[in-house]
């Protein structure tokens, strides 16, 4: 701050408090709705303050689910989301770190071509090539499987580019010293490169976990068996199924539970998350 202007400081605080309220509004409304019983919504507008049924609603959704909507209990869907998010995060980091190592530390024929094949994936979000990708996954018999949920989303180049940038900033002297000491490429990779990129890996993990957890279209398309439903895609199925008699309190309880893990990760790992985000994008 350059000069002391109490009025501007006050205005800044007011803007921020208003901003925080607006940002939090939908979640507050959802939380309130998730604490009421089914009858609270019959009489006009939604209540503004929490009701008595918090434990009842959440434990019901976690344990049994809504039998009429054809979705499994929220516990099962959360577990599927967790598996999918972890597979995507870990898988993407592993293949990216290996390929970035190959591209930066080796010279081999068609290196440029291999690099470009990876590069173009930046331009093809899954939504755009959804029909043929679905076809490939169906032909490979990967519908309704964790592999089908995660592998097609693993191969995008952003992570490869991040690791490439990181490796390019590691001084050549380190590599030379390692080679003089007789270290082969894989030993160098394991003992020097990986430890040096530890924080980048952790930051990227946070972002990819959220990316995986929040996937919607892909799981919605390729899972037809309730055993593999993920929570984000499951909410939509629930909201559709309860269209006749709106069970808002249960839908909102599910929405709250779908939000908790990724939001907890962002708040808990804020510093790593911000670092990872700014670095991945630039």
């Amino acid at each position: 701050m350059i000069e002391n202007r109490p009025f501007l400081n006050l205005a800044a605080h007011l803007v921020l408090i208003l901003g925080v309220c607006v940002v939090a509004l939908p979640v507050w409304v959802a939380f309130v709705a998730s604490t009421h019983g089914p009858t609270a919504f019959m009489s006009g507008t939604i209540p503004m303050w929490p009701g008595p049924d918090l434990v009842e609603n959440y434990s019901r959704m976690l344990g049994r689910g809504v039998s009429t909507s054809g979705t499994p209990p929220v516990g099962t869907m959360m577990m599927n989301s967790l598996i999918m998010a972890l597979l995507i995060a870990v898988g993407k980091i592993v293949i990216s770190v290996l390929s970035a190592f190959a591209v930066v530390y080796f010279r081999f024929p068609f290196r440029g071509l291999a690099f470009w094949c990876i590069f173009v994936t930046l331009m093809l979000p899954v939504e755009v090539r959804i029909v043929p990708t679905f076809q490939v996954v169906a032909d490979l018999g990967m519908l309704n499987s964790y592999a089908g949920l995660s592998i097609p989303l693993i191969a995008s180049a952003t992570a490869t580019f991040l690791f490439r940038q990181v490796f390019l900033t590691i001084p050549d002297e380190l590599t030379e010293a390692a080679r003089i000491d007789g270290a082969g490429p894989m030993k160098f990779f394991r003992d020097i490169l990986l430890p040096l990129s530890r924080t980048n890996i952790a930051a990227l993990f946070v972002i990819l976990f959220i990316y995986g957890w929040n996937q919607y279209l892909w799981p919605l398309l390729i899972t037809t068996s309730a055993d593999y439903y993920t929570i984000v895609a499951g909410i939509k199925r629930m909201a559709d199924a309860v269209d006749g008699i709106p069970q808002w309190h249960l839908v909102m309880a599910t929405a709250m539970m779908a939000m908790i893990p990724p939001v907890a990760v962002v708040i808990g790992m804020q510093r790593l998350f911000v670092k990872g985000l700014v670095e991945t994008e630039k």
Binding site: I2, A12, L16, G19, V23, P26, V29, A30, G44, T45, I46, M48, V94, I95, L98, S99, A102, V103, Y105, R107, A114, C117, V120, T121, L122, M123, P125, V128, R129, I130, V131, P132, T133, F134, Q135, V136, L140, I151, D172, T175, G184, P185, I210, N214, Y216, L217, A233, I235, K236, W248, V251, A255, A258, M259, P262, V265, I267, Q270, V274, K282
Partner: protein, 292 residues
């Protein structure tokens, strides 16, 4: 470029193999299929496929529905970008003024990044529910009869708000990082010269923030065009009367629900062209920025 390299010939291919195999099977092959499919047409029973050249594209060009979708996408993308970037910039400037409470406000503002677009859609859909929602009630008090199920403008407003809400935290983080990278000495010098806060913002802060703004512009357009699929599907499903049928939703709808594979593939190809263009712009910019 690295001076020191390892000389193995086989090892790099082994290292690249997992990424390349997945890329070929799940990216390049489907993309090639989309391209091939866009020149073909299947009859109603899916038995015969004929090569029709550019006919699928020509039909799109003459289809009022597709032209409508282009227009809807443009309105949607511009509204989401302007709304989310405007609010985010305002909040970032306010936080940048803070000395002590920066961390607290940042934490309170970043978490919507982690909320799935589909969930964001459901939350706002609930708030704006015409019978029990809180917003229609408040708007009703003001004499406005909200109904996004039948009113086109209301439906567009709903999906814009839900999509922009989710994106504010992202833009906020980048604007804040951009603001904090501006040396304080510049603004101090201007303050000594007698420039007030508003003048300083327009003459110093905003020009220095322009690379961040441009980057965010591209990212937000891409977000509004593709990542908002879930918002649309969870709320309006492209309706009412095509009012929120953005291009990426139409690709899905025509391909999976309408089973019109040729048209859907042609739309995919057009979208691929658009993303490719935006990606190239983004990379050009990043390279230029790295250079200086």
């Amino acid at each position: 470029m690295k001076r020191t390299i390892f000389r193995n010939q086989l090892l790099p291919w082994l290292l690249l193999a997992p990424q390349l195999i997945i890329t070929f099977i799940f990216f390049l092959w489907p993309a090639a299929q989309a391209l091939r499919q866009s020149f073909l047409r299947q009859d109603a029973f899916g038995i015969r496929t004929t090569f029709v050249g550019l006919d699928n594209f020509r039909r799109l060009w003459n289809s009022p529905e597709y032209l409508n979708s282009l227009q809807v996408t443009a309105v949607f993308a511009i509204s989401v970008t302007v709304l989310s970037m405007g609010v985010a910039l305002l909040l970032a400037i306010a936080v940048d003024r803070m000395i002590r409470s920066t961390r607290v406000y940042t934490t309170l503002l970043v978490w919507p990044y982690a909320v799935a677009p589909a969930v964001a859609g459901i939350l706002w859909w609930f708030i704006f529910n015409p019978t029990i929602g809180i917003m229609p009630y408040l708007l009703g008090q003001l004499g406005y009869n909200w109904n996004h199920i039948s009113n086109k403008g209301d439906a567009m407003t709903l999906v814009v708000i839900a999509s922009a809400w989710k994106q504010i935290s992202y833009n906020f983080l980048f604007f804040l990082a951009g603001l904090q990278a501006i040396p304080a000495s510049l603004r101090e010098a201007a303050a000594i010269d007698g420039a007030g806060p508003v003048r300083r913002f327009f003459d110093i802060t905003f020009p220095l923030l322009s690379p961040t703004t441009f980057f965010l512009l591209v990212v937000n357009i891409v977000y509004a065009m593709f990542d908002t699929f879930a918002v649309i599907d969870a709320t309006t499903q492209g309706g009412p009367a095509q009012a929120t049928n953005i291009m990426v939703y139409k690709v899905y709808f025509d391909g999976f629900v309408g089973q019109n594979l040729g048209s859907s593939a042609a739309q995919s190809v057009i979208l691929m062209g658009l993303v490719a263009m935006l990606t190239v712009i983004q990379f050009r910019y990043v390279e230029k920025k790295v250079a200086y």
